[in-house]
Structure formats: structure tokens, C-alpha cells
């Protein structure tokens, strides 16, 4: 099939799929391409679409799912035509999500150790919001549930992959007195 024809079909599929988006795997199987070929086509399509002069939407990749989204700078116009759920995220929810995202797979107890507070209700809520999910069981007594973040999480934070999360400032792993206490901890403890 002709090159531009393939790109056209992918564009049409992306339009139809809307917020569900499409993965490389789906595109390659529908068009009978290898994943590598599909990736090359997608790269070209992202470029073509995102470089248009008249551009009301662009092609993004959130967690491996390609989809069209409108531009941030135009959002006030679209607000007039659609009602949107407010869906704010509390600090507690954000904190819990961050700890899970950086440490997954992780048990509830481990999240609680880091936060220093109970997280039972919060974790249930994040599961209900499809932002985290059960990804397995830990091989320790009681077989506690291990949690990880989901495709929905990637979308909610506009991330193509977890590598795009902000870098954590790592502390030295071996925490012995002579060492870490001489290294001055420089940045300010900033709070909100």
C-alpha cells in the first residue's frame, strides 16, 4: 500500500478512537505491519500532524497510547462548549500516587511506611479512580497485594513513559554517620 495512504488510514483510526486512542500493537495488527514499521509511521505522523500551520489538535503519546488532544493554549474556547468534571486531586492522593509510581510494585504497608500515615482508604479510592491497580502479590507471609500505576495514570499526568516523571533527589544509600552527616544537605526544605 502506498505510504501516504497508510498514514491517512492511521489518521482516520485515531480520529475514530478518540480518547481510547491506539497502541503501536493495534496499529501494526490492523495494517499488517511489523511493530517497527508501525513505529516509524507513527513518528512520521506525529511530526506531520504536529507541524501543521493550522492546528486545533495534536497527536500525543500517553503511556504508549496515541491519541489526538486539543491544544492547551486554546482551552478557554473549548471550555465554553463542554462541561468538564473538576476532578481535583488532593495532596494526600497526589503523595500516595507519587510514592506508588516511583516504587511500583509496592504494597500498601510500604506506602504507609514512607508516608507515615494510613493509606487504606486512599488506596481503595485510587483503585476506584483507575489510577492504580493490583499488579500482583508479594511473596511474603499474608501475600499482600502489590500496586502499580495504570495507563490512566500515565494519561492523567501526560506521561509517555515513567522515565518522564520528575527526577527524585537521591540520598546516599549507605547512611553512615561519618559520611552523610558531613555532606551538607543543601537545598531548602520547601513546603507548599
Amino acid at each position: 500500500m502506498e505510504h501516504n495512504e497508510i498514514l491517512s488510514i492511521i489518521e482516520g483510526m485515531l480520529f475514530l478512537s478518540g480518547d481510547e486512542g491506539l497502541t503501536i500493537k493495534q496499529i501494526s495488527s490492523i495494517l499488517e505491519l511489523s511493530k517497527k514499521e508501525a513505529t516509524i509511521y507513527m513518528d512520521e505522523l506525529v511530526q506531520t500532524i504536529n507541524e501543521r500551520t493550522i492546528k486545533g489538535f495534536e497527536l500525543v503519546n500517553f503511556g504508549g497510547v496515541f491519541k489526538f488532544v486539543t491544544l492547551s493554549k486554546h482551552h478557554e474556547y473549548y471550555q465554553k462548549m463542554i462541561e468538564q468534571n473538576e476532578n481535583t486531586l488532593s495532596n494526600a492522593a497526589l503523595e500516595t500516587l507519587a510514592i506508588i509510581a516511583y516504587n511500583q510494585p509496592i504494597t500498601r504497608v510500604s506506602v504507609e511506611e514512607i508516608r507515615g500515615v494510613g493509606c487504606d482508604a486512599m488506596i481503595r479510592k485510587l483503585v476506584a479512580k483507575a489510577l492504580i491497580k493490583e499488579v500482583g502479590r508479594e511473596d511474603t507471609p499474608g501475600k499482600p497485594i502489590l500496586y502499580g500505576v495504570t495507563e490512566e495514570f500515565m494519561d492523567a499526568f501526560s506521561l509517555a513513559s515513567l522515565d518522564e516523571l520528575p527526577q527524585l533527589k537521591e540520598m546516599k544509600e549507605d547512611f553512615d554517620q561519618d559520611d552523610i552527616f558531613n555532606t551538607k544537605y543543601t537545598e531548602d526544605i520547601d513546603e507548599e
Binding site: S17, Y102, K133
Partner: protein, 242 residues
């Protein structure tokens, strides 16, 4: 001393401790247990005792701090450290605070991406249920509860996202009498003007089209308005009869 910050503002004892350390401009590594304990207890004293549920987590930390402080005041503090396998509680607390602060530090960045995502809109998938030709009766073997939760969440999000406000209004049923009246009002507002025929068909529903068309015919019939067209396929105009 007055405490402007209430405990509801904190995500837990570690959060409160970080706040106090910052307030006292202390370094995390050189944490002065004795001073921070006093500060911490002063805060706890401000707490509403009725909020025991909230307090319990703070109280656990308070006991640990008090224990730590008292041990440090004891002359045999050195002896305590002989046991190599037991981590110094102060070090352990510092370690926990550093670990917790790592996440605190990036929360604003994460919230920014989250808020940014809320300025990007997308559409619901086209409805194509009828095209689904599912030839097998097999149930896929890779399903998880998450799939259901996600489908449900997507649906909740879409409910408010996909209905343009104006088309909701357009679905209101309307009679020929009401529509004729609206058209009369329209002509009143556009006194002595020629109105493009198309301008009256401003809602995209079939019933609205039909009702509007019938209303125009009625009004022409009643000799309230007249139709003008300069030639075949030219624009049609309407105007009030003088």
C-alpha cells in the same frame, strides 16, 4: 506564640516535622531532636482532642520523639550505640524524613502536569458498536478488574465532556405555534430587513427543520411574511409584509 497552621494542613506527622524543621531553619542531617520534640509537642497541644482519629498517628510520633529525647538526655547514651545492629533512632528518623521529602519535593511538578492535562481535551470514540462482528464465543483470558473500572471511569468522564451545551437546548420539542411566534419576534428584531432563509434553520435537528419549515409556510400563508428569490438556486430571502 500562636499557631496559624492547623493540623488539617499536614499530610501526617512526617509532613508536620518537615514543616517545623523548615520553620526553624534546621538542617535535616543535624536535626536537633530535643528542640524539634518541643516544637512538635506544642503543635500537638493545639489539636482538637475531639479529632482523636486524626490525632492517633501524630501521637505515635510524639511518643517516639519523647523516647528519643529522653534517651539522649541519659548519661549512658553512648552505651546504647554499642549494639551495631540496631540503628540509632535519630538516624532512622532522619532517613525517613529524607525519604519522605524526596516525594514532597516533586509533588508540585506532578500537580503541574496533572493540571496541564486538564487543559487538553479529547473526544469520545465514534460509536461503532454495530460494526462489531465478534465471531468467537471465547472469553479473552487476559482480563482484569481494572479493565472494568477503567471503562466505567472513562464513561463518567465522557458524560460531561461530550455534549455540546447548545445541542442540549436544541432537543427541546417545539410546536409550530411556538416556532411561528419565535420567527415573528425574529422579524421584529430585524425590522425592515431581508432575512436569509438559512438563518432560520439554525438548529441541527430534523424535527426543528420540519417545524421551522412548516412555520414559515404558515406565516407566508397568513400573508405575514413573503419570500424572495432572484433566480433559480439563488439565496432565498424572507421579509415582513409591510
Amino acid at each position: 506564640m500562636s499557631y496559624e497552621v492547623i493540623l488539617d494542613d499536614f499530610q501526617g506527622p512526617l509532613d508536620l516535622l518537615l514543616h517545623l524543621i523548615k520553620e526553624k531553619e534546621m538542617d535535616l542531617e543535624t536535626l536537633e531532636v530535643s528542640e524539634i520534640t518541643d516544637q512538635y509537642l506544642a503543635y500537638i497541644n493545639q489539636m482538637d482532642p475531639n479529632q482523636l482519629e486524626i490525632m492517633s498517628e501524630y501521637l505515635v510520633m510524639a511518643t517516639q520523639l519523647i523516647e528519643m529525647k529522653s534517651k539522649m538526655l541519659l548519661p549512658n547514651e553512648k552505651v546504647e550505640l554499642e549494639d551495631e545492629y540496631k540503628e540509632d533512632p535519630r538516624e532512622q528518623l532522619i532517613r525517613r524524613l529524607i525519604e519522605y521529602k524526596k516525594y514532597k519535593d516533586i509533588l508540585e511538578d506532578m500537580r503541574e502536569s496533572y493540571d496541564y492535562r486538564h487543559t487538553l481535551y479529547t473526544k469520545a470514540p465514534a460509536i461503532m458498536d454495530e460494526y462489531v462482528v465478534d465471531t468467537t464465543n471465547l472469553i479473552p483470558d487476559n482480563l482484569e478488574v481494572y479493565d472494568l473500572i477503567r471503562a466505567m471511569q472513562k464513561m463518567f468522564q465522557r458524560k460531561s465532556l461530550t455534549t455540546p451545551l447548545e445541542s442540549k437546548i436544541a432537543r427541546v420539542e417545539i410546536s409550530i405555534e411556538e416556532r411561528s411566534d419565535q420567527i415573528r419576534q425574529y422579524f421584529k428584531r430585524h425590522h425592515h430587513q431581508k432575512i436569509r432563509f438559512d438563518d432560520l434553520f439554525d438548529e441541527p435537528t430534523t424535527s426543528y427543520f420540519v417545524i421551522t419549515f412548516l412555520s414559515i409556510l404558515t406565516l407566508v400563508n397568513k400573508r405575514e411574511i413573503e419570500i424572495e428569490q432572484s433566480g433559480n438556486f439563488e439565496d432565498i430571502f424572507l421579509k415582513e409584509r409591510e
